[in-house]
């Protein structure tokens, strides 16, 4: 399991690649943490409308220093702003948007993703862990397209892309595409399929660090 750590893309580049695959005017929910970076890389000419599970559509960036409002926060409990055209609503209406299929894209982190698109990102299942799920299962059950932003392997070099998740699932068969530091990988009916390699990374290096078969990119899709 422990192969040499490869660099590939950094987090910002992964976020930028992910942002590039989101259509103009999409309603987007960004998971807490690294997925939030996606908002910094909206391609020119496009606009995303951000949904925050705690009751805000049209979420804007962090406020200017000194303009924090403790009652205007995002799902990660960080201060945000409201863009023109925003609306506030309660948790019932907010998760009705999620559950009802009204959010176009959700970007989440991952502990593991299986070759059939199962996502595990909420619990290691360790007996002493405090279980905490938040809105992750609502998002995976309700949002049309789930993108995953993740390092390709754990800090210890263990694979996160696996045949079958060993951690408890967040949702079965929900992930569409993974943006890792090494590659962009699609979930297809046949399993993991390479979409694009990070610069300087080889197919074999990615395959070695993936605990399930990896299909090469379709000829017209490999932008290496």
């Amino acid at each position: 399991m422990s192969k040499a750590q490869l660099t590939g893309w950094n987090r910002e580049q992964m976020a930028q690649l992910c942002a590039g695959d989101i259509a103009d005017q999409s309603i987007v929910n960004l998971g807490i943490g690294i997925p939030e970076l996606v908002a910094r890389y909206v391609p020119k000419g496009r606009e995303f409308i951000y949904h925050s599970g705690n009751g805000l559509l049209g979420m804007g960036p962090a406020p200017a220093p000194g303009e924090k409002d403790p009652e205007l926060i995002n799902a990660g409990k960080k201060p945000v702003t409201a863009n023109p055209g925003a609306s506030f609503f309660h948790h019932g209406d907010s998760f009705a948007m999620i559950r009802g299929g009204h959010i176009d894209v959700c970007v989440l982190g991952a502990m593991q993703v299986s070759q059939r698109g199962d996502l595990a990102n909420w619990s290691t299942g360790a007996p002493d862990a405090i279980p905490a799920v938040g809105g992750a299962m609502d998002l995976t059950a309700g949002v049309k397209t789930i993108f995953v932003l993740t390092q390709h392997t754990t800090k210890n070099g263990e694979a996160k892309l696996v045949e079958q998740c060993s951690y408890p699932l967040t949702g079965p068969k929900v992930v569409t595409r993974i943006y890792s530091n090494l590659a962009i990988i699609n979930i297809t009916a046949s399993g993991f399929q390479l979409q694009q390699l990070a610069p300087g990374i080889t197919f074999e290096e990615v395959a070695e660090r993936t605990d399930a078969p990896l299909l090469p990119a379709k000829p017209d899709q490999d932008n290496e």
Partner: protein, 236 residues
């Protein structure tokens, strides 16, 4: 119309019984009725079941209520956070029970409780350990889990403005679970930053109609949780 305003948080929470199920509004500190929670600590009711998105931060508010051993059980989607120390300790010691519920399912179960919907089918948790032991039914080709309504004896709520009859409006993302919880509790107790005359709120803008509110107390300058935590403050 009846004036539901009472003069203090102490009076407002006086009748909460041992063993009560208490919904507490707020998401993080936005919309968290910290003064009412502190009054409940002073009041001392025990063996409470608390429904909240989190388990509090630092040693104030909900965390302090838990730390004071008044809470037997949490129903909660996210019982840990960077500043949450009290709950993890008691949970690992087996001194507090946890029912983990996804955030959206929690919101919908509370809404169902208020709306007379006994149970509903949702796709959330299908195929996960949180669906274990629950009925799963295929409807139009997709699997759904049966979830039951959630009600409470008491709801502790924070709002921005209340008229004396109990119509409420909220501030930005401080709305969160508050309007739902108002509908699902036998007794709804509200702390409002400002109490105004009946008729002062535009009927179009009322978020919680007064039918759902029992007691209102004005707390003009509510504590700011983050500041207390930053200063390492404890309650009491």
């Amino acid at each position: 119309m009846m004036n539901k305003q009472v003069s203090s948080t102490e009076l407002a929470v006086a009748d909460i019984c041992d063993g009560a199920t208490v919904m507490i509004g707020g998401f993080g500190e936005a919309g968290s009725p910290t003064e009412l929670i502190h009054a409940l600590i002073d009041q001392g009711a025990r063996d409470l079941t608390i429904i909240n998105n989190n388990t509090g931060n630092g040693e104030i508010g909900l965390a302090a209520l838990i730390g004071n051993h008044q809470v037997a059980k949490m129903i909660c989607p996210y019982p840990r956070s960077s500043h949450s120390k009290v709950f993890p300790k008691l949970y690992r010691a087996g001194e507090i029970e946890l029912e983990l519920v996804p955030q959206g399912t929690l919101a919908e179960r509370i809404r169902a409780g208020g709306a007379g919907i006994a149970a509903f089918y949702t796709a959330t948790t299908v195929g996960t350990v949180l669906a274990k032991g629950k009925e799963v039914r295929t409807i139009k080709g997709r699997d759904y889990v049966l979830e039951y309504a959630l009600k409470a004896d008491v709801a502790l709520i924070k709002c921005e403005q209340a008229d004396r009859s109990g119509n409420l409006i909220y501030n930005k993302t401080a709305r969160n679970f508050n309007p739902l919880m108002c509908t699902a509790a036998t007794t709804t107790i509200v702390q409002a930053r400002k109490v105004v005359a009946i008729g002062a709120l535009d009927p179009e803008q009322v978020i919680t109609p007064n039918i759902f509110v029992d007691q209102i107390v004005e707390v003009q300058e509510p504590l700011i949780d983050a500041e207390l935590i930053a200063r390492g403050r404890c309650y009491p």
